[in-house]
Amino acid sequence: MTFLPKPKLHHPKLAENGLGFTRRDYEGSISTLCAGCGHDSISAAIIHACFELDLPPHRIAKLSGIGCSSKTPTYFLGNSHGFNSVHGRMPSVLTGANLANRDLIYLGVSGDGDSASIGFGQFAHSIRRGVNMTYIVENNGVYGLTKGQFSATADKGAKSKKGVANNDEAIDLVAVALQLGATYVGRSFSGDKAQLIPLIKGALAHKGAAFIDCLSPCVTFNNHEGSTKSFDYVREHNAAVNFLDVIEGREEITADYPAGSVEIVRQHDGSLLKLRKLANDYDATDRIAAMNFLQQHHARGEIVTGLLYVDGESGDMHDLLGTAQHPLNGMNDDMLCPGSAALEKLNASLR
């Protein structure tokens, strides 16, 4: 059995969102990943975030590369079009899709092998271009699907299940995304729903390249002693800088907060990001400070999580290109074809 449809029995008591949809309307078919795989928790968080944001499921396009992580779009948003492309190349496919129709919401799901190894170039260039998307890397430090080889995010010195140490330097995708101009950068942990769901919500509401590095332990190949991507290791070394709340609509924040403890960022679509600070010296709107903070804490062996950077005024690829507001895929002959008269004029100039 290779396809497992979920019974679509609606429980009468299931809560509905603003569009009258229940959580079930955002689900996909049953996951075939290993029981306990971190990736499944991220799928659940995506479902939760989309439900809470009242997003019409069919207006979301979900794209991925190849890997266990890249399989997950089958397991959420069953009413959305999905595209499981080729290994490491989701960013270009997503970029093209976005060029074709700027009105949909684009969700790219990838793995650390997919984005930091084979697809490092495409990851980087999609960020540089400011593609309006939510790009989530489900980061387990290994190639789960091909049975546990190290990926490029594996930490130097980390041990494989067979006890072999990784000698190569790790790529920190968050650091790279910051350097390449991502306008929304977060890191989280599949085991921390409370932190992850609002991070995804903020990213979906963000205009521009939103990147989330989500540590997501591979229970089968990378959850042992000596791994730096195991549940235990990540929990012990997690250093959250803030706690995010995404508030929709234009309602004002009324409650009083002690000075310096809360930061409010208004995004393009009017959504408000309320950041409750955990690290007092952290300013999520200062890219350079964020990069420094990240490096310093990395040197101490800490895994910095939270909303690490956001630019509330960000634009996207279409703004840079000057593309028409009307989606390109919906343009008709009159909008696209210059017609015979223009051609006659051109002919006359070529004789």
């Binding site: 079009h81 190349r89 270009s92 060029l99 000057g322 593309t323």
Partner: protein, 612 residues
């Protein structure tokens, strides 16, 4: 010494230094001949990797209207000291050498059997102009002036062109006229004008236009409704994306808001280019990339995905000599097989073969209809010879009643009406399923696109039967394609013959001439120009009706012949190779010679001899 004598039938070659502003002067020369109603066919020759950056511009003038390369040079305009020796060598005996005689060149540097025409271009220029940029630019116009006197070209034809080129800038027009007259005066006063080679007014051109194949294909993409272009620079395809950009800016930019009804991305590599094209095609936009052989190699994995997941995509492959970097600025038709069977696994792709800029335009637009109709990648196979040269061709035409054929796209209304939607379901028996654009309907018609096997309703499956069912449907779709792609064009000889020739793409003008050459020696041959793959029934019929068929192509391994043998199960013995692949454009004399030789070795008696 003998002096070559010819009216409207000779080859002039300009040897220049790149960046000396010679390109526009040389084009002016070619256009002035066209304005006199005589066929002139220019070709750029530009090595990619030689110091001093020499470039050559060859103009073939043909009373009979032949536009293929001829080979040999009758008049060499030697403006590049670095290539002097090689240039002198290429002149035919009795031909002419035109050079700048300001500096004395030792007699040993000339050839005894070549007529030498010295014009002190630098001296004339320096006496007249002081600014170095002026000196450089007008020197080119001065030699055009001198050549016009030597070849009896109507100066008014040149002046007319200059006036059009610099319309509204009267000072510049006058300055160019002056330079032109400087050259003419010198030649008329000091040299025997005209020489043995002359241009005589004729009426061969009609309403034809002079245009570059790459720009024509880019223009075709604009007319074809392409909105997304993702590309990575590579010779000789770059000017295609640039052409698209130019015509989009002209025709697709909102006059008031400046909003663009197109998006062009210079991607980070060819993998990203084709990835973007596939993403855009999946999402319902018409998208294309322009590249050459090395780019096609990089795109292989993605092309298998597009074939298997059935996503429209258009690729312009402007072919150059491979393998690897090969001869990057030389022409070949060497990607036929790598495009036809691109990617791993069982794949087949649609190929179109334009013969000239007009067909680059037509097929450049049509490719998008075919890609949408067939939901698969479509390759438009240009080559450097058509892509990067100006060529005389029929004027562009467009039918304003024509509408884009978006193929089988199911709408929200159809879904609501309860139509069964299976993404890979063959409802019409032509192998082509329906698709939906993402975002069409809140609860119906969504599906998952993947490169892994699935059933007719796009559900993942590893069942062999379902996989095979899908692969068979893809074959059926390919058979449908054979009935809607542009058919091959057949031209039979006047006399009945059992000899046939198959050719395609940029070989066309040389083939036309070769047929005449062969006819003159008594060899009658029927010709078939293939315009697309998969082959229509007419191709098989043509081969069946002939005893021997020559397959003329510009690559080493007879790739089109292989494709014919493989796809139509032709007896290989029946298909004779005629292969030209040194990187220069194929010539009529090469084709005629090769066919004559083979015909002789096969003991095929020329018709006339058989009769007499």
């Amino acid at each position: 010494m003998s002096q070559l004598q010819a009216v409207n039938d000779f080859v002039v070659k300009f040897a220049n230094v790149n960046g000396s502003g010679s390109a526009s002067a040389n084009k002016l020369f070619a256009q002035s001949i066209l304005r006199m109603g005589v066929t002139a066919t220019p070709r750029n020759i530009f090595p990619s990797n030689i110091q001093g950056l020499p470039t050559w511009y060859e103009v073939r003038i043909s009373e009979k209207g032949y536009m293929g390369a001829r080979g040999g040079t009758d008049l060499m305009v030697a403006m590049n000291p670095q290539t002097w020796d090689q240039d002198i060598k290429s002149i035919v005996p009795g031909g002419y050498l035109f050079y700048d005689s300001t500096r004395v060149i030792p007699p040993s540097k000339f050839r005894a059997d070549v007529n030498v025409i010295g014009v002190p271009l630098t001296a004339i220029c320096n006496a007249q102009y002081t600014l170095s940029r002026e000196r450089q630019l007008f020197k080119n116009i001065i030699y055009v002036g001198a050549l016009s006197a030597l070849l009896d070209i109507d100066p008014d034809a040149i002046k007319g062109l200059l006036a059009e080129q610099f319309r509204g800038r009267d000072k510049l027009i006058q300055a160019n006229y002056n330079a032109l007259e400087l050259g003419r005066d010198y030649a008329l006063k000091n040299l025997a004008c005209p020489i043995g080679l002359t241009v005589r007014r004729a009426d061969q051109i009609g309403d034809r236009i002079l245009f570059e194949g790459n720009a024509a294909a880019g223009l075709g993409a604009v007319y074809g409704g392409a909105t997304v272009c993702a590309w990575y620079p590579i010779t000789p395809s770059t000017s295609l994306a640039e052409g698209f950009t130019k015509y989009c800016e002209k025709f697709r930019k909102d006059k008031e808001t400046g909003e663009k009804r197109y998006a062009i991305i210079q991607a980070e590599d060819e993998l990203a280019s084709i990835g973007m094209v596939i993403g855009a095609g999946w999402n319902g936009a018409r998208a294309f990339t322009a590249t050459s052989g090395p780019g096609i190699s990089l795109m292989q994995e993605f092309l298998g995905l597009a074939y298997f997941a059935e996503i429209p995509a258009v690729l312009f492959d402007v072919q150059r000599a491979g393998p690897s970097t090969g001869m990057p600025t030389r022409t070949q038709q060497c990607d036929v097989l790598s495009a036809a069977y691109a990617s791993h696994g069982d794949t087949k792709h649609i190929l179109l073969f334009p013969e000239d800029p007009n067909e680059c335009f037509v097929m450049g637009a049509q490719a998008f209809d075919l890609a949408d109709r067939l939901q698969t990648p479509v390759f438009v196979m240009l080559d450097l010879d058509i892509g990067m040269n100006d060529r005389l061709c029929a004027p562009f035409k467009w039918d304003d009643t024509k509408r884009m054929d978006r193929g089988k796209v199911m709408t929200a209304a159809e879904l609501d009406a309860g139509r069964d939607f299976g993404r890979y379901l063959d409802v019409d028996g032509d192998g082509i399923p329906y698709r939906t654009y993402p975002g069409t309907h809140p609860t119906k018609g969504s599906f998952f696109t993947r490169g892994t096997s699935r059933d007719r309703y796009a559900r993942y499956t590893e069942e062999g039967a379902a996989y095979q069912d899908n692969m068979e449907r893809l074959l059926k779709k390919f058979r449908t394609a054979a009935t809607i792609v542009p058919p091959a064009i057949r031209r039979d000889a006047k006399d009945a013959t059992k000899l046939g020739a198959i050719y395609f793409g940029s070989t066309a003008p040389a083939m036309d001439e070769a047929i005449d050459m062969l006819a003159a020696t008594g060899i009658a041959i029927d010709a078939l120009r293939i315009r697309a793959f998969p082959f229509g029934a007419e191709v098989e019929t043509f081969i069946e009706e002939h005893d021997q068929v020559f397959v003329v192509e510009q690559n080493r391994d007879a790739q089109m012949r292989t494709l014919l043998i493989n796809e139509l199960e032709i007896n290989p013995k029946k298909l004779q190779r005629v292969l030209h692949y040194d990187g220069s454009p194929i010539t009529a004399s090469f084709i005629a010679g090769a066919i004559e030789d083979t015909a002789a070795s096969l003991k095929i008696v020329p018709l006339r001899k058989a009769v007499s």
